[in-house]
């Protein structure tokens, strides 16, 4: 007989741990589809996490905290937008700077919030599971239905993003900007506006992901709460070949690994240092892809990914 409690716990944790990854990665997919790589995801997440806690404590409404956390992520991403989209600067450098800013800023401003419990303000489960099922199956059922609304929202968002990117004019415009900004421009698209909006949307989703991390998972604010989750999210984008639905699956795989490490803690010797390393391996991977044309083509990356668009250049 399998230990349903253990398995249920594992599934439950996986679904929960996947939320920040899904939200941030889908956001990054949208930004990268427009041709802008945003390494500021980690920064947007950590800012979203702190603002989420602060607003929830102030207002007593965790959904409000969650939403404002998203806006905070958007605000930070707008710095990246200005630097890279409006001024056409190097996207890698700008993204890293934005992340550094986010981490530093939250460490400074978050001191008063460290350890303040959100008990009672955290998202509460939607569905009681005490229905007529055999006792030993209850943990499994609970793992699927006893979540807060954000977990279910995180499943819908990749589908919404797919619809947005592939079934709307806005999405076509975003993809056109990511494939060839000069063609997009001549098709009558405002490239700056579309790219900027995609970066903002990405920042908003990253902020939401960060807010769920503090509000829904950790339940309090701690410095550097993201601990590389944002970098993993960036890595998952390439792993998912810029497809929002694949992001969902990739996030579950990654979240399962993370959850496994919680459950197996002490039982199997997986070094925590090894786990801490994963995000950065992912980052190296994506930087390689962005800079090697051949990989880019093979993986189906947006052709103009990472390339600034500056108008009025004399062409050959």
């Amino acid at each position: 007989m399998i230990d349903t409690f253990l398995v249920g716990n594992f599934i439950f944790l996986t679904l929960k741990n996947a939320v920040p990854l899904v939200l941030a990665s889908v956001g990054e997919v949208i930004a990268e589809r427009s041709g802008i790589i945003n390494l500021g995801v980690e920064g947007s997440m950590v800012v979203g996490a702190l603002v989420g806690v602060a607003v929830t404590l102030m207002s007593g409404n965790y959904l409000l905290g969650f939403a404002v956390g998203g806006l905070a992520g958007l605000l930070l991403a707008s710095i990246h937008g200005f630097i890279t989209v409006v001024f056409g600067a190097n996207q890698i450098v700008s993204g890293i700077a934005v992340t550094m800013t986010g981490l530093g800023l939250t460490a400074l401003l978050g001191r008063g919030y460290v350890g303040r419990s959100l008990y009672g303000l955290r998202p509460s489960p939607l569905y009681p599971y005490d229905v007529g099922v055999p006792d030993y199956l209850k943990p499994l059922l609970a793992a699927l239905v006893r979540h807060d609304i954000i977990v279910y929202l995180s499943i819908i968002i990749p589908l919404l993003a797919t619809w947005l990117l592939f079934k709307t004019k806005y999405g076509n415009s975003v993809r056109a900007c990511g494939e060839s900004p000069s063609v997009a421009e001549s098709l009558g698209i405002n490239v700056i506006l579309i790219r900027f909006s995609a970066v903002l949307l990405g920042g908003f989703l990253a902020g939401l992901g960060g807010a769920y991390l503090s509000l829904g998972i950790v339940g309090t604010w701690v410095e550097n709460i993201t601990a590389g989750i944002g970098w993993i999210a960036v890595g998952l984008v390439a792993f998912s070949m810029w497809m929002p639905v694949r992001v969902l699956m990739a996030s579950y795989i990654m979240a399962a690994l993370i959850s496994m490490s919680y459950i197996l803690q002490g039982k199997v010797g997986v070094s925590s240092y090894f786990l801490a390393m994963i995000p950065y391996i992912g980052t190296i991977m994506i930087l390689t892809i962005v800079n090697v044309e051949r990989f880019k083509l093979k993986l189906g990356a947006p052709t103009a990914l990472g390339r600034p668009y500056i108008r009025e250049e004399r062409l050959g």
Partner: protein, 522 residues
């Protein structure tokens, strides 16, 4: 150069508001280069207006200004009687101006419907592009254009892409359609079809501004011709007010031989068998996406022979030429230069074996734009210009100046940055450099693409001269006339294979064109 101002003032009853477009005194400078100088242009309603001129005359710069891609440094643009500021293609489209550029402005990885949805303004941002599919079908049947709305753009031929752009213009309810060199890559059948579509647009009350460097074409399609030379308008009259000779003179600025070289016949049978300089055996090459682009191509080129590869662009010519030049890995088969196997060796080994390369993407593979003329000129010949690893400045300058003169390169001198030169002059610089070492094999890929008539004739003559000196030349060109003029043998490439081969004396344009479209079986 002295410019003859030969404006033709015509007494028309037309008042000003019959002008769809009226341009006054537009100038544009790129750094120290004057691209356009005080240009005036009037396009009337229901008119096909041809803007004629050599490359580098400023035609493309002008249309880029009209479409809001460049901004003029001075001058006034008036559309339907209103002075306007065209700051972006969006602005231009809102005034009813649509530009079909020389290279299709479409996103390859998206479908036809998706591409068209982007620029269809009546479609809300969060609406599905599906709605316009019906509209596209309606327009395409009304104008006799057939497009598959669900096809991926990357799978379309050049002329199909152009048709998609025409439908785009119609969806935008174009008032003034601008086409930049639309016929360069079309077969004669496709060209006739395009012209009949354009006539249809005129009948509906729209106007067309067509840019070309071909005099014959201008006379064939236009109502009115404006000639641009070195950034200035030198003539603007109704078509009938020109004679062919006069028009050619206006375009070129001085009389040149209109008909270029006809190479004397070369038949390997009755002369001494000349040595093979390039031998390609069963060559297979993959493209960037991993698909097979060149399948089992075999070719032999003898010394003193020109072999021309004709074909519609995108049938593996690019991959073939890159593989021959050592810029792309070979998947199967062999490449021998003068008997030496260079199959998977780098470009350096090929150069040492006597290989010269005139690449298609001259700015990418031919020159380094940020470096000056002299530096580019000695790129392949550093050894002969240096001693103990130090560059002999004087030798270089002397030899470059010689080259500039011999090849008629228009530049301000050896120290001018190459990116400031026009395409024709860059090409002449490349040819000058490549021919300097008396190569055994020359690979010329679209050597005159985008060049003005004078430069094109010069480049072709240089190739013929190299042939007389014993070089074997592989000419890959989309310009069938060029292939027919220069080649001793003609082969046709279609979908990565050689589907047809003939000698020039027996070549028929018709058969070749059909072979290019894959309609001939070997």
């Amino acid at each position: 150069m002295e410019v003859n101002q030969t404006y033709f003032s015509l007494n028309t009853t037309n008042s000003n508001h019959d002008y769809v477009l009226s341009v006054r005194g537009v100038s544009k400078f790129f750094g120290s280069i004057t691209a356009l100088k005080e240009v005036d242009l009037d396009v009337r309603k229901k008119e096909i207006h041809v803007l004629l001129g050599e490359n580098g005359a400023g035609k493309t710069t002008l249309v880029n200004i009209l479409y809001g891609i460049y901004r003029p440094d001075s001058g006034v643009i008036n559309v339907f009687g209103k002075d306007v500021r065209i700051g972006s293609p969006r602005d231009a489209i809102s005034y009813g101006i649509v530009l079909v550029q020389q290279h299709p402005m479409l996103i390859d990885k998206m479908t036809v419907a998706e591409n068209l949805s982007i620029s269809f303004r009546k479609l809300g941002y969060f609406k599905s592009p599906k709605i316009i599919k019906e509209l596209i079908r309606e327009y395409s049947s009304r104008y006799g254009i057939s497009v598959d709305v669900d096809a991926l753009v990357s799978n379309l031929s050049f002329s199909e892409k152009q048709e998609v752009e025409l439908i785009r213009a119609l969806l935008l309810d174009v008032k003034l359609l601008i086409l930049d060199e639309p016929t360069t890559m079309l077969t004669s059948y496709e060209r006739r079809k395009l012209f009949s579509v354009l006539r249809g647009l005129i009948d509906e009350g729209r106007s067309v501004l067509l840019i070309t460097h071909k005099v014959v074409e201008a006379l064939e399609i236009s109502d009115w011709i404006t000639v641009l030379r070195r950034g200035e308008v030198v003539a603007s009259r109704p078509k009938n007010a020109y004679s062919v000779d006069e028009l050619v003179k206006l375009v070129v600025g001085e009389s040149i031989r209109a008909e270029p070289i006809v190479s004397e016949d070369f038949s390997p049978g009755n002369s001494v068998r000349r040595p093979e300089v390039l031998s390609v055996k069963d060559l297979t090459v993959v493209n960037d996406a991993g698909g097979i682009a060149v399948r089992g191509v075999s070719l032999d080129i003898n010394s003193g022979e020109v072999v021309g590869i004709a074909g519609v662009s995108g049938n593996g010519q690019k991959e073939l030429s890159e593989a021959l030049a050592g810029l792309r890995k070979v998947k199967g088969g062999k490449i021998l230069i003068c008997g030496l196997d260079v199959t998977n060796r780098g470009p350096g080994d090929r150069v040492r074996a006597g290989f010269a390369y005139i690449p298609e993407e001259r700015l990418r593979y031919g020159v380094i734009g940020e470096m000056n003329v002299a530096e580019n000129f000695m790129l392949k010949n550093h050894k002969s210009f240096s001693k103990y690893g130090l560059i002999l400045e004087k030798d270089v300058v002397e030899s470059v100046e010689e080259g500039i003169k011999a090849f008629n390169i228009v530049t301000r001198g050896p120290s001018e940055k190459v990116k400031a030169l026009s395409g024709g002059n860059i090409q002449k610089l490349i040819v000058a450099r490549e021919l300097r070492s008396n190569p055994k094999v020359i690979l010329a890929h679209n050597p005159t693409l985008g060049l003005d008539l004078k430069s094109a004739v010069l480049v072709r003559e240089l190739l013929i001269k190299a042939r007389s000196n014993g070089s074997g030349i592989l000419l890959i060109s989309e310009d069938l006339d060029e292939v027919l003029t220069l080649s001793d043998r003609v082969v046709v490439m279609y979908r990565g294979s050689i589907v047809y081969e003939t000698s020039r004396t027996t070549a028929s344009r018709d058969v070749l064109e059909r072979a290019m479209l894959g309609l001939v079986n070997v």
